[in-house]
Every structure is written in C-alpha cells, then in structure tokens.
C-alpha cells in the first residue's frame, strides 16, 4: 500500500491536472473535457507516481510506455507531460493551435513524451501489445500502460489485441478502462451496450480488477498490487468513473464529451475544482 502522504499529494496534483485541462480547453475553445476529467485521477497516479520515466530523456529505451488509445482526451495527457517537464508548461495554452506541438490528437512526431500517435479509436492497444512483446523478447523490464474508453471497446480491434496479449503472456501490459458510461452520441447503454467489461476482460484471460477510478487510494493501491502480479497474464483495471468529474454541470452530461466551456462556465468550473473533490 502507498503511503497516505503519497495519496494526499496525488489528490492535490489531480486538482492541478483538472485545472490545466479546463484552462487548455477553455483557451482553445475546443477539445474534449468530459473524458479528460474522468481519466484525470489515474493519469495523475501514473505520471506522478507509478511510471518509470525520465522527462529529460523521453526516448529512454527502458522507460515505461503510455498509450492514450482514447486520443481525444489528450488534454489530460498533455497536462501531465507539461507538469512533469517534458516541455514548457506554457505550451499547454497552444492546444489545437497552428504549429503547436499539442495537436488535437496526440502526435508523437511533434510532442515529446507521446509514445505513439493516436486518435482513431480501437488501435492503441495493439500498439501496446507490440511494445510489450518487444520487452519480453529483449528482456526489458519496462511496462506498457494503455488507457482505453468503455465506448472504445465497441471497436473489434480491442478484442483482437486482448487475444494477442493473452497469447503472448504479457504480464507487462496494463490495460486501463475508463468506464464513464458515456460516449459521443449518448450513454453507452443506449448507443451500444458494452456489458460487464470486467467479466469480458476476465473471460479473455486478463488478470482483472475493478476500482473506483476517482478514489486515489484505490487507484494507487491497485497499481501497487498489479506491479507484483507475475502471472503470465495481461492486467486489466476497469475503473468506474464519472465523465466530467469535478465540474458539477459536466458530470454525467453527454454534451460535455467534446465542447469547451464559455467564460462563465469556465470560472465556475475552476472554482469547483479548486474547492476540491470529495
């Protein structure tokens, strides 16, 4: 188990991450706040605790890899990268602007710290499988974390990738499912029910855990736990989350998948995030 102080400082970091997400999207007047906020706690735990990375050396071959398969929520990734020092934090305000390293979806050729370009849903997990197989073949100790959305599991390629991860016994691969129950058009249950995702991943052969993705203690604890799993099985963590988490009017509201707040909404959002999340 992580120290309580770790959890407290990560909670504090997560507030900063959320504020940066909102600031970026508000400044750009474009982007995807809902899914960025639902993934914010896990992303904070990864980038400020769990992952073995070196911002001064983004291409370090022994680093842990992170793949944002749900690439549209890149504000949360960019924020973590900026706050960790992969680039000047001032860059965050260039999101989606011409010439920016922070494209509308992550571009590994432009943005340091992005391990693979993403944006087309369903594809990131296969790439993570390739990276994890390479670690096994070359006796590398790094791990590969892949964040996917629950809506994204509607893509068949996700399940192709899980099959391969199980076949190649990738216990160095951690699949993180941000189960916020909403997608672009409506609730997942209305658009295309994804069913019991934990049961599905378990049935495919993953070592699967379910947590509250906004409880930092649970997030830290599950990451700690999965580190010691060497069961020749890929790891899957299904996180129950709330889309738009931390901003009352965004929470569980389909509309906030891909729109930016106006002036008044932005002020309210920052106030609410600063007031803390409990």
């Amino acid at each position: 188990m992580a120290e309580r102080s770790d959890v407290a400082s990560l909670k504090q970091k997560a507030i900063e991450v959320r504020k940066n997400i909102l600031k970026m999207i508000y400044t750009a007047q474009s982007g995807h706040p809902g899914g960025s906020l639902s993934a914010a706690d896990m992303m904070t735990a990864l980038y400020f605790g769990e992952m073995n990375i070196d911002p001064d050396n983004p291409g370090w071959d022994d680093r842990d890899r992170f793949i944002l398969s749900k690439g549209h929520v890149c504000p949360v990734l960019y924020t973590c990268l900026g706050m960790r020092g992969y680039f000047d934090e001032k860059e965050l305000l260039t999101l989606r602007k011409e010439g920016s390293i922070l494209q509308g979806h992550p571009d590994m050729k432009r943005c340091p710290g992005v391990d693979i370009s993403t944006g087309s849903l369903g594809q990131g997990l296969s790439v993570g499988v390739g990276m994890a197989i390479r670690a096994k073949r070359d006796d590398k100790d790094y791990r590969v974390f892949v964040l996917i959305g629950d809506g994204e599991t509607q893509e068949g390629q996700i399940w192709e990738a899980v099959q391969a991860a199980v076949k190649y016994e990738l216990d160095n691969l951690v699949i993180l499912v941000d189960q916020n129950n909403l997608q672009n058009d409506n609730c997942c249950d209305v658009v295309m029910p994804t069913g019991d995702l934990a049961m599905k991943f378990r049935a495919f052969g993953c070592h699967t855990e379910q947590i509250d993705g906004h409880d930092m203690e649970q997030v830290v604890a599950v990451l700690e736990k999965t580190r010691s799993w060497k069961g020749e099985k890929p790891v899957c963590i299904v996180m129950k989350t709330i889309k738009g988490r931390g901003v009352s009017y965004m929470e569980n509201v389909v509309k906030w998948h891909g729109v930016a707040p106006n002036d008044a909404e932005y002020i309210q959002a920052i106030e609410e995030v600063e007031a803390g999340l409990q």
Partner: protein, 314 residues
C-alpha cells in the same frame, strides 16, 4: 511467353529474402496473420522464432503490433494477402504507421489476378492505388523472382513505410541475380524512341512481348519496369514523353489510381504526351485461369501492340 522461362511465384522470393534478412539483422521481424504458409514465411518461423509472431486472423491488430515493435526499433514485415494488407488494415496503416512515420513494411502475396482460381474476394486489384494515396508510403511490386528478392531487401534498408506486393503464382523470369534495383527508379529494359511501354509486376512480361512484336514491324519500343509506383520515377516518365511521345502503361491492377494513373498525372501536369492505360477495366475478377482473366481485361501483348500503334497515329 516466347523468350522467357516460367519462374517462381514472387511470394517465394519474399519468403527466401525475408529469411535471409532475418538472419542478417535481428531487428527484422515477421508478423503473420495465419497465412504464413501461403506467404512462405514458415521457414522464418522455424529458424527465427524469436523474431516471429503469428497473431492469427486479425490484420488490423497485426498492423498495430508492428507499429508498436517499430517504435522500439524493430523492422517488422506484416505479412498477409494484398486484399487484407491494403484494405482490412488500411486505416491502421494510415494512423499508426504512415502518420507517425514508423518503419513498418506491409508485405502482401496474392496481388493482382494471380490468385486466379480464388476469385474476386482474393484478387487484390485496388491495393497499390489505395496505398499510393497515403502520405509517407512507398509502393512497390517486383516483376519476378530476382526483382522481388532485391526489392524486398531494398525495402528493409529504407527507413519508412513500404507496401510490397507479390504474386501467388509463378511468373516468367526476366531478371537474373546480377540485376540491380533502386526504389523509386525505373529499370530500362529495352531502349526505343517510337513508343514507350511502362509496366510492372507480373505483366512486365506483356510489355516485353509487345516490344518484340513491335520490333518485327520496325517499331522501336522503350520498355520500363516501373516497380515503384510511389515515389514515381518522374524523370523516367518525362524522358519517355520527350523521347517517345506516346506511352502505354500495363498493370495487373485496376486502371484507376495505379501505375497508369500515376503516369497520367505526369502527362496531364506537363501538358504533353499521350497515353493508353492497359489494366483491369474497373471490374472485379472471377474464378478463371489467369490468362483468361488477363484476356478479359485486354492485358495482352496483342492489345498493347494495337494500343502503341494507335498512339503513334494520333
């Protein structure tokens, strides 16, 4: 097929060269999609299992896994059939290979009409044109065994995405082991200034036969092997326009967006030159003998001769 002996399928050449490459360079990987037997990669599996993956019938996944390997410095060859390698995994190629400029090769057997008995579902006739439209992609088809071996090696040495296309069935042997190939540079097989025949892949032989028939009538045809349709050898096309005026393109591919279209683009932008495209006439194939499929689309020496003469009269 007068002066040329029947040779091996070019998929055999791929199987042999990828095995040699794998031995020479441990970074070379094969990612199979349950068609390793057909694509001749089983010896690679047997001799180099640490550099081999078979991900089953999941081409999109295969492409993504290859991209992941490439981010770690490997040189993966995703191996499948042309139909799947160009269409089933197309968007994965675009998003995870070409956009991030990763060093992944898509190596495909069953290109064009050579899987003749298999019928339309397995005859990849649109593939080269489709791949040609994606930025950062190189598109190649060797004409015979030696051309394919050399071009597969050249592709492995090129840092970037390459689509390679092979035949299922045997094709005439045109080149020998001494032949040299440069990606993006056409091979001049026959000099001539009356008309130019530009072809590639399994139907390069049609151009050579047509040139011989034309020669019997005193017409000197230039023959170019345009094994790389992207990047196209612009200079060679321009020289053909300048020296010959008329060009006949011959390809085992739909006439839309393949070799003929690439040459047409040069002619149109130059505002000079004349063109007849010979290829698959915007229709699907069917189960039939290979030569019958070619005949049904007019991909024959006789048709090429007639086209060349027509051009010279224009």
């Amino acid at each position: 097929m007068s002066n040329y002996k029947m040779g091996l399928p070019t998929r055999d050449a791929y199987g042999e060269e990828i095995l040699a490459l794998g031995h020479d360079n441990p970074l070379v990987y094969v990612v199979d999609c349950d068609v390793g037997k057909s694509c001749k990669t089983i010896p690679f599996l047997q001799e180099l299992p640490q550099q081999y993956l078979n991900v089953g019938i999941s081409e999109q996944n295969a492409c993504g896994i290859a991209a992941g390997l490439a981010t770690c410095g490997k040189i993966p060859f995703v191996t499948t059939y042309a139909v799947f390698g160009s269409m089933r995994m197309l968007e994965q190629i675009r998003q995870e290979v070409c956009y991030p400029c990763l060093n992944v090769k898509i190596a495909c057997s069953h290109g064009g009409l050579t899987p003749a008995n298999d019928g339309a579902s397995h005859q990849g006739i649109e593939d080269m044109g489709i791949l040609r439209t994606i930025p950062n992609m190189t598109v190649i088809m060797g004409a015979d065994y030696w051309a394919t071996r050399k071009l597969v090696r050249a592709a492995a040495e090129l840092d970037g995405a390459v689509y390679l296309r092979f035949t299922r069935d045997g094709v005439p042997a045109i080149y020998d082991e001494a032949a040299a190939f440069t990606i993006g540079k056409a091979n001049l097989l026959r000099e001539g200034t009356d008309v130019a025949l530009i072809a590639n892949g399994d139907v390069l032989i049609v151009a050579l036969e047509a040139a011989e028939l034309l020669e019997q009538e005193g017409i000197h045809a230039r023959v170019l092997d345009m094994h790389t349709i992207k990047p196209l050898d612009h200079e060679a096309v321009l020289a053909a326009i300048n020296d010959c005026g008329g060009i006949v393109t011959i390809e085992d591919h739909t006439i839309i967006n393949g070799l003929g279209s690439a040459v047409a683009e040069v002619i149109a932008e130059e505002g000079r030159g004349k063109l007849v495209r010979i290829g698959i006439n915007d229709q699907f194939g069917e189960s039939a003998p290979y030569h019958r499929l070619l005949e049904k689309n007019g991909i024959t020496a006789a048709h090429a001769v007639a086209a060349a003469k027509r051009l010279m009269k224009r």
